[in-house]
């Protein structure tokens, strides 16, 4: 059996890639994908830990996280579409109507 630490480290690396993506990329769709990557990295942790502890909590949580992520995608893509219709851009740097 693969030790639990391997899973946790992999999940940590995936999460970090997600965070880096959010911070560095400027295309809103890519930023959004990076956020989804973060959530899925966490799912990996939950599943691995559930197996490690031998209880079902972690596995059930993943279902909830997936459904929440799906709801977030529905609303998120609608908002991105709304912005694109108004501004014809998906570049985060160009969305600067409000500045001090």
């Amino acid at each position: 059996m693969v030790p639990i630490s391997y899973h946790l480290i992999l999940s940590g690396i995936l999460f970090t890639i997600g965070v880096t993506g959010v911070l560095l990329r400027r295309n809103i769709i890519i930023i959004f994908m990076a956020i989804e990557l973060m959530l899925n990295a966490v799912n990996l942790s939950f599943v691995a830990l559930a197996r490690h502890f031998g209880n079902m909590d972690g596995q059930i949580i993943v279902f909830f996280v997936m459904s929440v992520a799906a709801a977030e995608v529905a609303v998120g893509l609608a908002i991105i579409l709304l912005v694109f219709r108004g501004r014809e851009t998906v570049n985060a740097d160009e969305l600067n109507l409000m500045r001090w």
Binding site: F32, V42, S45, L49, D57, G76, I79
Partner: protein
Amino acid sequence: MDITLPAVNWLSVLPTLLLSATGMLALFWDIWIKDDERSLLGWLSLTGIVVTALCSWLLWGHNDVESFSGMFALDAYALFFNLVFCLVAGLTVLMSLSYLETAEIRHGEYYALILFATVGMTVMAAATDLILIFLGLETMSIAVYVLAGIWRQHLTSHEAALKYFLLGAFASGFLLYGIALIYGATGSVQLGPIAEHVGTQGSSPLLLIGMGLLIVGFGFKVAAVPFHVWTPDVYQGSPTTVTAFMAVGVKAAAFAAFARIFLHTLGAVHADWQGILWVVAALTMTVGNITALVQHNIKRMLAYSSIAHAGYLLVAMVAGKDLGGAALLYYLVAYGLMNLGAFGVMVAVGRRGEPHEELDDYAGLGFRYPALGMAMTVFMLSLTGVPPLVGFTGKFYIFSAAVQAGYIWLAVIGVLNSVVSAYYYIRVVVNMYMREGEAIVELPSLRSALGVAILIAAIGTVLMGVFPSASMSLAGASFLSLG
């Protein structure tokens, strides 16, 4: 493998169910209601909110605390927050009745979304399971993302929704990772077993990282520095009533879960997180207040002010113990009343197509509309912390809790910040009374419902300040119910 179904205690989810039933009713009724009768949806929502508040009040002390296998606890703490959320949602709906006409926002989804967001808040306050807290947070957040962008004619509203959504989802990622690591460190996601584990085993590196990530996640939601960058843009771009709802409701809900987890469940290892929160609180107060000094848009100024107030609330969290907890709950109500009032005045001053959000638009307002000017003065002075208004009493409780817990420097920083904040709050009052006004000739949007909302907020601000003991003992009792 045997699956035992948990005992269902309907009574403990009754307030939440009432709110969501009202929300669904509003959504369905919107399908066949006539266009000119749509404001009835607002009254329907208001009825639902009032019934929920009454129900929460009646359940006080009459309910089995634990239900759903220890995932949900409608204790006095949760009931107190239910009352706060009902107050916030109720005042928001009252303000929206005329605002939606002025701003030309569709009624139907709006009220349903407000109600669904409130459902999420009540879940966050009562949940005793990290996953349920996460679900409540998402129910609330997703509804509020949509509300931020509901002003479809305005590009700024789109931008606000997008920024709130991206950063909110980013923050949920951190929160969820924190939950996963705490699960890894303690083997449970329920607050009871976690508290037990932490009490006997102390902290571990995994738990420390988990707590740090939770602080990041909640820090985003309550707009604490350095996770506050979204706040000014989102508050400025959203419709004013939604901004009021976000500034007060979302922050109160986030603090409800934040305080339950950190002050209660992780109370045994408070030495590990108090230091970080100390720094965050000091930074939040200072950055919020100093940036607010240079703002000319009142909505944006109130956004920075709400960051600063998150800092004061964090001081109460750092102080901890019974006194800090009670002060936190009291100040959340205080902050809610005065902030909702201030946004209510902003709604009244705005007109169709002209939001009138700049400081110059308020010139001479005090002479033209004495009642409105008086109300705004009360709210501004209360936000500054002038006695005998509620802002003063709240800050007094928070800072004395901090001093008693030995955080004298934090209290000193807080008091200095209050002094700084006087500059930008009083500047609004000065503008209203000491400058000649030219901009506003009439106030078409000041209708009776909005007036009632402002009046309730103003009366609450004054009465809770003059007679603080009743509400303070209520706050204390609810915090003690955490055990």
